[in-house]
């Protein structure tokens, strides 16, 4: 029964290959192939939740592996201060446990609805079939990343998700911004991935294997020195920072938000942003082995979450605002892991993935209809009549703000609970984030609903309207349900299934009260600022310059590349010229001059030759005379 997991992995790959091999005439079938594969994955995931299958699913996980590389008899010396590792063969394959299953189900859901939506959104675009091929590649690589049984295999799929993200973000190569966004996504993820790879190397050379089941086992990291655990943890965390767009490595995600709406939805909600969080949860035993790493994660998450939330409050572009909101939520999940409760972070990831996909898809429709992504312009053009799309957009915003009983509420409450029990200082940050989240969500809410003028009739044919509405509706419903699944109301089934040793979240009226007050304050502030600002027809109070520069992150990179990187490269260029001019050119020039000197001997002038003959004869004569003792 569990063997059917291969279907989930291989069906998107099959779709990718099939679409690439489609002859030009049959390109029209590409969306069908992509959607069929996504549906197959989704249905297979659904099958695993039948009681029959759940019985087989154990907490340790089930593996299906094959030997990838045969290196067990290689002898190595150990790293400094560590015993020599006993290398084991590298096995690749799939692993299935509750955490994996929950994650691939969410991915399959989001992926299916995004593909469905893409059909309505992209079917008239040039290169639509290419687009669906890339979508399938992305979903294949993400599923592989989640199901890997070996950390090295995870890394391989991880890099593949980076490639797929590059291809999707740079989907329209003729647009310079798209190409730039793709390049940025790849290079930043690549750099962070190298940190991850360094962590992998340390783990491999320290332990001799990278099998996930063994790594996460209870005794795997016993007897290892603290410096090793800290270094390894920090290296691995660097990779996660890049993938989950923690500051200052977040710039690629915000640029990706301007790509086609389904791509942006996928990239913010599941792949690759959520990949980092998933690995953080999966590798939590490694991170938690070193308190330094945990604290670093907590601090990085807090800084990211607060800064991104502040930035989300001032973005005029709704896609950018959503993107910063997403980064802020990702930071919150990292904080949960840093506070020692990765499962709560993962729970938030599930609800977040569903409502974030919903938000980006709805924002995509709004942007496409109005030809602009500027919140004020959309509001002025009149958005009221598109009640259906707007309704779901608002539904997503309310979930994002964390108003009970929407999805975001329960998961965010769990994170706040873990923060307040573990780190009182950081729980203040958590409450600040709650306030800011409420503010930016309701800023969009009130901003978009402020418009008055009538809407134009949309020209979409009926069936695509139904499909896109179906996708939005399903995502909204799922995000609502997923929130409830983790609550005390449902006996916390989800959380105890994911991690049997988790303590439940006690209902704390005080925390709920503070939360509600903060959300109300945020909403009220947003109402006052936005509505009054719009009424005065000076749409937004202008934000401070630092925020307009987006905290200067891009300037930082430009400085690093132009001033430091290019200077270094120029210095190398000088060295290169030095080598070829002095060390190679010098001797060559010397030889050339030497040749010139000897040339003078053969300049063709008879008088010179005669002179030489005379000089030589004279010298020889003097020599012999001296030697013979005649000239004394």
């Amino acid at each position: 029964m569990l063997m059917m997991i291969w279907t989930v992995l291989l069906s998107p790959l099959a779709a990718f290959v099939v679409i690439l091999c489609l002859p030009r005439r049959f390109r029209i079938l590409a969306p069908a192939a992509g959607i069929a594969a996504a549906l197959a994955s989704l249905c297979t995931c659904g099958l695993f939740f039948l009681p029959d299958a759940l019985k087989h699913l154990t907490e340790q996980g089930t593996c299906y592996v094959a030997r990838w590389m045969d290196i067990s008899d290689i002898a190595l010396r150990g790293l400094p201060g560590l015993p020599a590792p006993v290398l084991q063969d590298i096995f690749f394959g799939l692993m299935l446990d509750p955490l994996n299953l929950a994650m691939i189900t969410v991915i399959a859901c989001v992926n299916f609805f995004v593909q469905l939506f893409s059909f309505t959104f992209m079917r008239r675009t040039d290169g639509c079939s290419r687009y669906f091929a890339f979508l399938s590649l992305l979903s294949f690589s993400m599923t592989g990343l989640v199901l890997s049984s070996n950390l090295l295999e995870s890394f391989m799929f991880w890099e593949l998700t980076g490639l797929a993200a590059y291809l999707l973000a740079g989907f329209r190569p003729e647009e310079p911004t798209a190409a730039g966004a793709g390049r940025k996504a790849f290079v930043i993820n690549r750099t962070a991935g190298l940190g991850f790879l360094a962590g992998l190397a340390l783990l491999f050379l320290g332990l001799g294997h990278l099998s996930l089941i063994d790594l996460c086992g209870p005794q795997a990291l016993a007897n290892l020195p603290a410096w090793f655990l800290t270094t390894t943890g920090l290296c691995l965390f660097l990779g996660i920072m890049g993938r989950s767009a923690l500051m200052p490595l977040h710039v690629w995600l915000t640029e990706a938000s301007e790509g086609p709406a389904p791509t942006a939805a996928l990239m913010h909600s599941t792949v690759p942003a959520a990949a980092g969080i998933f690995l953080l949860v999966r590798l939590f035993p490694i991170f938690s082995a070193s308190p330094t790493v945990l604290f670093f994660a907590l601090a990085a998450g807090a800084v990211t979450s607060v800064c991104a939330a502040v930035l989300a409050c001032v973005q005029p572009d709704i896609r950018r605002a959503l993107s910063y909101a997403a980064i802020s939520q990702l930071g919150l999940m990292v904080m949960a892991a840093g506070a020692g409760a990765p499962v709560f972070g993962f729970f938030h990831l599930i609800t977040y993935a569903l409502f974030m996909a919903l938000l980006f898809l709805a924002a995509g429709i709004l942007t496409q209809r109005h030809g602009t992504a500027d919140m004020v312009q959309i509001a002025q053009k009149g958005v009221f009549k598109q009640s259906f799309v707007l309704f779901f957009f608002l539904f997503g915003l309310v979930s994002l703000a964390g108003i009970p009983p929407f999805g975001g509420f329960f998961s965010k409450d769990a994170i706040l609970h873990s923060l307040s029990t573990q780190h009182p200082v950081f729980s203040v940050a958590g409450f600040v984030i709650t306030l800011l989240t409420a503010f930016y969500s309701f800023r969009l809410f009130f901003g978009l609903t402020a418009g008055q003028s009538p809407d134009r009739e949309s020209s979409e044919p009926g069936f695509t309207k139904i499909i896109s509405r179906f996708a939005l509706f399903s995502l909204a419903l799922l995000s609502l349900l997923s929130g409830f699944a983790g609550t005390p109301l449902f006996g916390e089934k989800l959380l105890s299934w994911l991690a049997p040793h988790t303590h439940g979240i006690p209902m704390n009226p005080l925390r709920w009260g503070i939360n509600s007050i903060l959300i109300a304050c945020g909403a009220a502030a947003a109402y006052i600022i936005v509505r009054i600002g719009l009424n005065r027809s000076s749409p937004m109070p202008s934000s401070p310059g630092v925020l307009q520069q987006k905290l200067s992150c891009n300037a930082l990179y430009a400085f690093a590349i132009n001033e430091i990187g290019f200077r270094l490269a120029a210095a190398c260029g000088h060295l290169e010229r030095l080598i070829s001019n002095r060390f190679v050119g010098g001797p060559a020039w010397g030889l050339f001059r030497l040749g010139g000197l000897f040339c003078k001997l053969q300049n063709g002038l008879l008088q010179h030759y005669l002179l030489v003959v005379v000089v030589v004869l004279f010298t020889v004569t003097v020599f012999f005379l001296t030697a013979g003792g005649i000239l004394r």
Partner: protein, 485 residues
């Protein structure tokens, strides 16, 4: 069946050379087909060789010995083991693809293919010869046609580049000749036979410490490692595509192969004592190549400098002197050989069409030459070691070996891959994205049959990227026996 298979492989290009020489020069198609047939035959034979090769046997296999100048201790001795057999395959693949890629050469076709066949003979020869004299002779055979190919059929700055290339390479082989003569002149020696020298002579540590740097220096020059690299970017960029493919793909690997085959094999103690120095040089080369590539405007030069970075990884793996590192170095040589060949094949077509390689002048080409764009992206991804392509396991092994040797050197070397990614993606963006330069609106994409050689290269990349165990199994027993001796 007792076919002398190595000699047959060696004879394929030689016979073709002779046949092309007697073909009238206006029979262009016959000349091309002869060259293609020879390369196809050598490809088939080397595939058969891989099939017959027994990886578990660490002794030399398929050995052949003919007396040549027995009084002077010079014999025609050839044979392969796990260290060298993969290079025969690599050379055959690259030669086959190079010949198809140079189908468009129209200027003095006969001379071109004569030179190319001569180069191929030299390349096959160096990897199979077990006699130092034979080794040096084949190297000489390979270098001289390279000069002609570059100067006559090259692109920009070809005279300068060709002269620089030949001078560097001859300097390197002069150093090697001195080293070989020293070994010949030792008491009890009097032979150029590598295995005989290994068996009969034992070198003490101080001698090894003095002679190893001589050989190592010679081979470092041949393999274009920092700081003796400056011939390579110029030379490879200026050479015609097929010559660039063969030289960058295969012949530079010879230097690294020589360090293993002669340096480590004969002087293990010397290699261990000098490992710190070579590893530092390798690290400097890795970072330096990547840094130089950042500012290059000429695509050929950029790829040339990235090759230096990649060769630095090879030297790093060798210097680590452990099984992971050496396996990785051999794997990286093979994998990078394919990648370099693919890149130069693509650049060759681009230059033929656009008459420029300056990335600032190009732009928006993806709408005109989508197939070339796809090939470039694949080659670039392989060059920056993306998982799934053979560069990844190779880099992984080198990296693990290097971290095991010295964690700092290993991790610093890894940083260069980020720079490589930046360079390649900036170049790809400039060349293929953005608005199309009207000057290039008449470009033609690759003709379908020209896909075939490139597809062969990509298939090799994918095969060894997804199943690296196949490759490791070929080389590992020999590497182990080399290190244990």
């Amino acid at each position: 069946m007792n076919l002398p298979i190595l000699s047959c492989i060696l004879l394929c290009p030689t016979v073709a050379l002779a046949l092309i020489l007697i073909t009238p020069s206006y029979r262009i198609n016959i000349i091309r087909l002869l060259a293609l047939a020879a390369s196809l035959a050598s490809l088939i034979l080397s595939t058969v060789l891989m099939g017959l090769f027994d990886p578990q046997d660490t002794a030399m296999q398929f050995t052949e010995r003919l007396a040549w100048l027995p009084d002077m201790g010079i014999n025609y001795t050839i044979g392969v083991d796990g260290l060298s057999v993969t290079f025969v395959l690599l050379a055959a693949i690259v030669l086959f693809c190079g010949i198809i890629c140079s189908w468009a050469v129209g200027f003095r076709v006969k001379s071109f293919f004569v030179c190319l066949m001569c180069l191929a003979t030299g390349i096959f020869g160096v990897f199979v010869s077990l006699d130092l004299f034979l080794f040096l002779s084949f190297y000489g055979i390979a270098v001289l046609p390279m000069y002609l190919l570059t100067v006559l059929w090259g692109s920009e700055r070809k005279e300068y580049a060709g002269m620089k290339l030949v001078l560097y390479l001859l300097t390197g082989s002069a150093l090697l000749t001195v080293g070989c003569l020293i070994l010949y002149a030792l008491p009890d020696s009097g032979t150029f036979d590598l295995l005989h020298i290994k068996d009969s002579l034992s070198f003490d540590r101080s001698f090894q410490d003095r002679i190893y740097p001589l050989f190592c220096l010679g081979f470092i020059i041949l393999s274009a490692c920092f700081p003796f690299h400056s011939w390579a970017p110029d030379g490879h960029a200026a050479a015609p595509p097929a010559a660039g493919m063969l030289h960058a793909g295969v012949l530079t690997k010879l230097g690294a192969y020589g360090i293993i085959r002669i340096g480590i094999f004969l002087f293990p103690q010397g290699a261990a004592d000098w490992a710190g120095v070579t590893a530092t040089l390798a690290l400097a080369g890795i970072l330096y190549g990547a840094a130089m590539a950042v500012r290059q405007r000429d695509l050929g030069l950029m790829i040339g400098f990235l090759n230096i970075s990649a060769m630095g990884f090879v030297l790093l793996g060798i210097s680590a002197l452990n099984e992971l590192g050496l396996n990785g170095a051999l794997f990286q040589m093979f994998s990078h050989g394919i990648v370099a060949a693919l890149l130069f094949a693509c650049i060759g077509h681009l230059y033929n069409q656009c008459r420029t390689r300056n990335i600032d002048e190009l732009g928006g080409l993806s709408s005109r030459v989508p197939a070339l764009c796809v090939l470039f992206v694949i080659a670039g991804l392989a060059g920056l070691c993306l998982p799934g392509l053979s560069g990844f396991p190779a880099m992984l092994f080198v990296f693990w070996g290097a971290v095991n040797f010295h964690p700092f050197i290993g991790i610093a070397a890894l940083g260069s891959l980020a720079v490589t990614a930046y360079c390649l993606f900036t170049a790809l963006q400039r060349i293929f994205c953005g608005p199309l330069n009207p000057r290039f609106s008449e470009l033609r994409d690759l003709p379908p049959w020209q896909f075939f050689p490139r597809a062969v290269l990509i298939a090799a990349l994918l095969l060894f990227g997804i199943f690296p165990g196949v490759f490791i199994n070929w080389i590992q027993p020999s590497v182990r026996s080399l290190l244990s001796s």
